[in-house]
């Protein structure tokens, strides 16, 4: 390519002696220049920044207008003993989420409603009472799982984090995410592995105090209707070797969920 360019330059300087041959080579030169410019523009266009990739990740994640699913959570400790929790989840847009516990018996009926990052509600059926919970709970594990409240409700990474494309490997973009100034997040760094073909993240590594503390892996990615979606997620806590596996079934998108689903009224209503 470089030789060709040099050649073009040499030929193009001979403009005082126009000939049939030189006219031919001049035409060729323009063709080659066009190809070069096209290739450069294509390359530039293809070289997405980390920010652009992250915006696409968010848009894929938040593409469905709404979603319902039954979620089975399996909590496994390092000795291998397991606990199961079944929940029904309702999501609308990127903010509103309602999670209702169906099993086991001691948490049956407990429901969680998120209307905004600072409007979280918990319904405790034993007291027949809805309690507002402060967002300081965001670092805490959600109902004994390895997902924190923040992990469960993270709806837009690009709002809270700046992204840098570290590399591409195994058909995945590897992004480094760092919190924006004043972002209300509890991790100092995330590493996202994003599928290049559909912008679904396959893995997230969570860092605090310079150490990797948790790893989320997403499997069973399928196209359900118009949307790519991971039906199985595993969050592993590296500090205590405890993990939580989420398996989603009965996933339904864009059913036109009413705003009434995401209200205190519905929070108290039994499933």
């Amino acid at each position: 390519m470089l030789n060709e360019m040099l050649q073009i330059k040499t030929l193009s300087t001979d403009r005082h002696k126009p000939s049939r041959e030189s006219r031919y080579t001049g035409k060729r030169m323009y063709q080659i220049l066009f190809v070069i410019v096209f290739l450069m523009l294509t390359t530039i266009a293809n070289a997405q920044t980390g920010k652009e990739i992250l915006v696409k990740v968010d848009s894929v994640m938040n593409a469905p207008k709404d979603m319902t699913a039954v979620e089975k959570m399996t909590l496994t400790d390092k000795s291998g003993s397991q606990k199961d929790r079944d929940t029904k989840i309702y999501q609308k847009g990127s903010e509103w989420r309602l999670v209702r516990f169906l099993k086991p018996a001691d948490v049956r009926g407990v429901s969680f409603l998120r209307l905004a990052s600072n409007r979280l509600y918990l319904y405790l059926p034993a007291f027949r009472k809805v309690r507002r919970i402060s967002s300081s709970v965001k670092n805490e594990n959600f109902m004994g799982t390895d997902f924190s409240y923040e992990d469960m409700s993270q709806s837009s990474y690009s709002n809270d984090y700046t992204a840098k494309l570290l590399k591409k490997e195994n058909k995945q973009y590897v992004l480094e995410l760092k919190p924006k100034p004043n972002a209300d997040v509890s991790y100092e760094k995330l590493i996202l592995y994003v599928d290049q073909s559909n912008y679904v993240y396959r893995k997230i590594e969570y860092y605090n105090n310079g150490k990797k503390v948790k790893v989320l892996t997403v499997d069973n990615i399928e196209k359900i209707g118009k949307y790519w979606f991971g039906k199985k997620m595993e969050m592993r806590n590296l500090k205590n070797d405890h993990k939580t596996t989420l398996t989603l079934t009965g996933i339904k998108f864009d059913q036109g969920l009413s705003n009434r689903v995401f209200t205190e009224r519905n929070l108290k209503r039994p499933e």
Partner: protein, 432 residues
């Protein structure tokens, strides 16, 4: 022909009924819990209260369709303190192993009744009002359940009709309570909440007559503005804690008559968060009807104002925060305990620190209370409490706790008057 048609319809209905019954039966969900709770009283002069506080709650629910939901629960309580006083009592199993059975809740919920945004709930139900953590001043619709001293903030479900209308961010709730239901006191522990001034009297309790005019009602409007949840409420009914309404010293023992004051309560509450810290508060302005008690002592008759009609204001303010590392702190200031009225409202400060360990398998909680009755002379007018508790919840549906309920203070204080109820406990709760 018409008769034939009728018979066919009846036959068809009879055929369908078992199927329908089976369908409903298959949809019925059952649940509940068994709680075994052994108490060890650790005071020298321990009160003769029940020392084994067991409960078995059996719940059933069914939702025949999306607009209808039925729920009922039965509460069994059983104790291990024999109540045998004479030989014949030893022949009676109920004296040796006292038990109580009660219908705890039984209600029907109708969703979208008449209008999409109107819900109706009819039956014996818990109606929980207020934003404070258990220390609710506006939660006056259900009567208080003081039967377990350790859980003095509990309430008993009441018979009621509740209508809730939802319009955008607003919710209007109207409640009608046809019957008055009084407080439930600890077995052999009345004096813990009502004092021991009347122990030497033969008392009689006068409940409001079962008349429509004595039924109670309440309403509440709640909404949210700029991240603040708030509500305003009104209650018109009876205080569930009795007050002395007449006293006669002219016989031995003397006679005391108690009744339940008519009250109106104007309430308000809020909850919000600022910089991740949760804040809540609720206040109740109580307007009682005046009660003048006739007193006959040493042949002299006179009248005394047992309860003035001057309004009094009780409130609770609270805050909570979860610190990094999973330390949960909850602090509340309660002005006016549940049993306090008029100008005798004291201040109570409750602080609770919790920490879960081993993926929430173990929870350590340390609760404490400080009571101040007179700010001008705190050293002579205080009470205190320490409530440490360790809970294991490593197996689904099982919760095992050990803890203590340590209270004390000056004898005139509420917590000080509970000093003989100091206890350690072991509790096992299994949900199903």
């Amino acid at each position: 022909m018409g008769k034939m048609k009728f018979i066919l319809i009846v036959l068809f209905a009879l055929l369908l009924s078992p199927l329908h019954f089976y369908k409903i039966y298959a949809q019925t969900k059952i649940g509940g819990f068994l709680q075994l709770d052994k108490r060890f009283y650790i005071s020298k002069n321990a009160l003769p209260m029940e020392d084994f506080y067991n409960r078995f709650r059996f719940e059933t629910s069914v939702s025949p369709n999306s607009k209808l939901y039925l729920f009922s629960s039965v509460d069994f309580r059983f104790y291990d303190l024999a109540r045998a006083n004479k030989l014949n009592d030893l022949e009676n199993i109920n004296q040796l192993f006292p038990t109580n059975v009660s219908l705890w809740e039984a209600y029907v919920s109708l969703y979208g009744f008449l209008f999409d945004d109107l819900d109706l709930k009819i039956g014996k139900q818990r109606i929980s009002w207020g934003t404070a953590d258990k220390l609710n001043q506006t939660d006056n619709l259900n009567s208080k359940d003081f039967s377990d001293l350790n859980n003095f903030a509990e309430k008993i479900p009441s018979w009621a009709v509740k209508a809730s209308y939802y319009l955008s961010d607003y919710n209007l709730t109207v409640v009608w309570l046809p019957n008055f239901e009084p407080v439930l006191l600890p077995r052999n522990g009345t004096s813990l909440f009502l004092g021991d001034a009347l122990t030497s009297f033969k008392d009689s309790l006068i409940l409001p007559a079962n008349r429509l005019s004595n039924s109670m009602f309440a309403f509440k409007i709640s909404s949210n503005f700029a991240g603040w949840d708030y509500s305003f409420s009104y209650f018109n009914g009876y205080d569930d804690i009795p007050i002395l309404t007449s006293l006669y010293y002219n016989s031995n023992p003397g006679k005391a008559e108690l009744s339940f004051p008519k009250i109106q309560v104007i309430g308000a509450d809020f909850s919000t968060e600022i910089s991740g810290i949760g804040f809540w508060g609720e206040g109740a302005l109580t307007i009682p009807n005046k009660i003048i008690a006739p007193i006959l002592a040493n042949g002299v008759y006179y009248q005394k104002v047992a309860l003035d009609d001057k309004p009094y204001f009780k409130f609770t303010l609270g805050s909570d925060y979860t610190f990094p590392g999973g330390y949960y702190l909850n602090a509340q200031w309660m002005h006016g305990f549940f049993t306090e009225r008029g100008n005798t409202l004291n201040d109570y400060f409750f602080v609770r620190l919790e920490k879960t360990l081993f993926n929430e398998q173990l929870k350590i909680a340390f609760g404490s209370a400080l009571e101040v009755d007179k700010w001008g002379n705190v050293s002579e007018n205080y009470g205190y409490g320490f409530f440490p508790e360790l809970t294991y919840q490593g197996i689904d549906n099982l919760e095992m706790s050990i803890g203590t309920f340590l209270v004390g203070g000056k004898p005139a204080s509420l917590l000080g008057s509970w000093k003989n109820a100091k206890q350690a406990y072991l509790r096992v709760k299994v949900s199903f």
